[in-house]
Amino acid sequence: MKLLEHEARKIFAEHGIPVPAGSVIRSPGELATVMDTLGDRIVLKAQVEVGGRGKKGGVLVADRSNAQELASRLFSMEIGGIPVREVLAVEYLDIRHEYYLSISVDRSRKCALILFSDQGGVDIESLARDRPDALRRAAIPVLMDRVPPFMIRDLLSGAPAEIGDVINRLYSVFCRKDALLAEINPLVMTPAGLYAADAKLVIDDNALRRQGIAQNRDLTEREREAEKHGFSYVELKGDIGVIGNGAGLTMATLDLIQYYDGSAANFLDVGGGADQERVMHAVRLVAADPSVRVIVVNLLGGITRCDEVARGIIAAGVSQPVIVRLAGTNEKEGREILRSSGYQMLDSMEEAVRAAVEATR
C-alpha cells in the first residue's frame, strides 16, 4: 500500500531524517495559522498518491498574497481521477542541489537495493534511461543492519558525506516498516543543511497488519469487498466479467479475451478450494458491476469439485449469461447440473473465451 507523502514524511522524521517544517490542511481556511509558523513563502502539495503530481499542477509555490487562492484551487482539483482532500503546506526551501535516493526490493538479488544519484528531482525512469551512469547502485546483503561504509563511499563518490547518515536512516525505515520502496526525490541541499523535500513509502500488503494498518487504501470499494471473501480482484474497463482460480490462469484468461478482440471487465481469482459458497459470491460480485454483459468462469484444478461449482453458479442467480469451463472431479455431474439449468459448459478455456467474446458482439 502506498502511503501519502505526509504519512511517509512523518515516519522519515521519526527516524531522524530531516524534513522541512510543514502541516497538513483540510481546507483553505486552515492556511492562515499555518503561514504564521512557515513564513511568507510556502509550497502547497496536493496529497494524492499519483505519479507525476507536480506536472499535473498538484504542487504550487505560494506567498501571503495568493496562498488562499492557490489552496482553494488545489482543493477543487482532481488529480489522476482522485479528488484532493488534503494539502501539505511546507516551508519554502532555498535549494542549492537536488539528489535522488531510494531503497527498493531487488528481485534478482533478493535483497535491498539502494539507488543514488546527484542528479535528483527528475523522475527515476527517465534518469535511468537518459543518464544511466549518473545512477549508482548498491545491493545490501539481507542480514546487515547498517549499510557498510565502503558502500556509502561508493554510492556518494564525492557527494556530501552527511548524505551517508540519511542513507542509513532510510535503510532502517525500509527494514522496520516492511517497505517495498522508500524514496526521497529530491533530497535537497540548502544553506541550512539536507532535507527530504519529498517522501514516498510503499508498504508490503502482506505486512499491513503487523505494521498496524487496518485497511488497504489502494483498493476500490468492490476490490475491498472481494478481499473480504479472500478473492483477488482488480477492476478493469471492459464488459466481460472474468472468474478464474489461480492468478496465472486468470491473467491468461484476460489475455485470451484480448487476443480475440474482447475486453475484460475485471480480474477475479477465487483462490484455492473453489466451493459452492465462494463461487456464488464471486459470480454475484462480478455481476454487480453494471458494465458486465457476460461472465466467463475458468476453473481448473485437481481437487475442485465441479458439481459444487455448478451449484454455486446457479445459486448466484445473476441476470447475465455465464459461460463455464470446468475441469476437476465430478465433471460429468457438474456439466449435467449446468446444462439442465440452461448454462453453457465448454471443454477448453479457448472455447469458453471465444463464446464469451462472441456474446458481446
Binding site: G248, L249, G302
Partner: protein, 288 residues
C-alpha cells in the same frame, strides 16, 4: 528429474493444519503409486506424538530426524511462521525446502532465503504449488492426473496455469521430466536461472517451458543463462500498470516488467514465445 527422487524422505511442516493433513495423504498416495518413500514425518510445534494421515507428528524437524531419514521439507505453515519454518528446515540440514505458503511478508522471505543459502538449502517458493516429477515424486500440491512422464521440463511462477499447460503438453503426447512451480511472490528462492541450471545437468530433460508473468525480469535472466532449448508463455499482456494481478509479484512497476517488453527481450534471445497457452506444444515440438 531434478532436486529430488523416489528415495528422498519428506517432512511436512504445518502437518496438523487442514492443508497439511490433506496434502500429506495426496503426496503419500502418489508415493505408493510410484513406489517412492513419500512423507515420512510431520512437524507441528506442540503437537508431537500425534499421527495425521498415517504419519507420525513431531515437535521439531530435528526431533523427527532422530527417528526418520529425510532430506526435503514441504512447508504448509501459516504466513506468520512460514519463514521460520524455512530457516528451521535449512538449519536441520534439509537440502531442499518447498514453501507452499502464500502471503509471507517480503522482508521475512528475504531473510529466510539468505539464511537457507548459508546452510546450502535450496528454497522453492514461497507462494508456489511445489514440484512434480511424473512417475517419481510429488512435493506440494500439484494434481498428478494431468501429467505424464517424459522429456520436457516446466518452470512456472503460477499454479493452475501450469496445470493448464501441462495438460496441453500431455494431450499432445509430450511428457514432462520435472514441473517446478517457483512461486508468485516478488522474492522467491529458486529462480528460472537456478532451475534451468539443474535441468542442464539432467539427462532426461531435452527442452524447457518457461511460464512467466508480469513483474521483474527473472524470465529473461533465466533464458539468457541457459543453452537448453526453451519456449515461453508470459501471462499479463492485458494487465494494467501498478495493479497487483493476484500474485504479490505480478505487478508492473516504474514502467518495468510489462509483458510486451519481456516477450520482446525473450524473442531477441531467440526464445519462441506463445501468444496463447495452447501454442506451447507446437513450439516445444519444433525445439525437440
Amino acid at each position: 528429474m531434478i532436486y529430488a527422487d523416489k528415495d528422498c524422505g519428506v517432512i511436512v511442516t504445518g502437518a496438523t493444519g487442514k492443508q497439511g493433513v490433506f496434502h500429506i495423504s495426496l503426496m503419500n498416495s502418489y508415493a505408493r503409486e510410484v513406489g517412492g518413500r513419500g512423507v515420512v514425518a510431520g512437524v507441528t510445534p506442540g503437537k508431537g506424538g500425534q499421527e495425521v494421515a498415517g504419519v507420525p507428528v513431531f515437535n521439531s524437524i530435528r526431533e523427527a530426524l532422530r527417528e526418520h531419514d529425510a532430506t526435503v521439507s514441504v512447508i504448509f505453515v501459516p504466513a506468520a511462521a512460514a519463514a521460520d519454518s524455512i530457516m528451521e528446515s535449512a538449519s536441520a540440514g534439509m537440502s531442499l525446502a518447498v514453501a507452499i505458503t502464500e502471503h509471507i511478508p517480503v522482508h521475512d522471505t528475504m531473510k529466510a532465503i539468505a539464511f537457507a543459502h548459508l546452510h546450502d538449502c535450496a528454497v522453492i517458493g514461497p507462494n508456489c504449488p511445489g514440484l512434480l516429477s511424473p512417475g517419481a515424486i510429488k512435493l506440494g500440491i500439484m494434481p498428478v492426473h494431468l501429467s505424464m512422464r517424459g522429456h520436457v521440463g516446466v518452470i512456472s511462477r503460477s499454479g493452475t496455469l501450469t496445470y493448464e499447460i501441462v495438460d496441453q503438453l500431455t494431450r499432445a503426447g509430450l511428457g514432462q521430466s520435472t514441473i517446478v512451480g517457483i512461486g508468485g511472490d516478488p522474492v522467491i528462492g529458486q529462480t528460472f536461472t537456478d532451475v534451468l541450471r539443474r535441468f542442464e545437468e539432467d539427462d532426461q530433460t531435452r527442452a524447457v517451458v518457461i511460464i512467466g508473468e508480469v513483474g521483474g525480469s527473472l524470465e529473461e535472466e533465466g533464458a539468457k543463462s541457459t543453452d537448453l532449448p526453451v519456449a515461453a508463455y508470459i501471462a499479463g499482456v492485458s494487465a494494467p500498470p501498478e495493479k497487483r494481478m493476484g500474485h504479490a509479484g505480478a505487478i508492473i512497476e516504474g514502467g518495468e516488467g510489462d509483458a510486451r517488453s519481456k516477450i520482446e527481450r525473450l524473442q531477441k534471445m531467440g526464445v519462441p514465445v506463445a501468444r496463447r497457452p495452447s501454442e506451447i506444444p507446437r513450439l516445444i515440438r519444433e525445439l525437440l
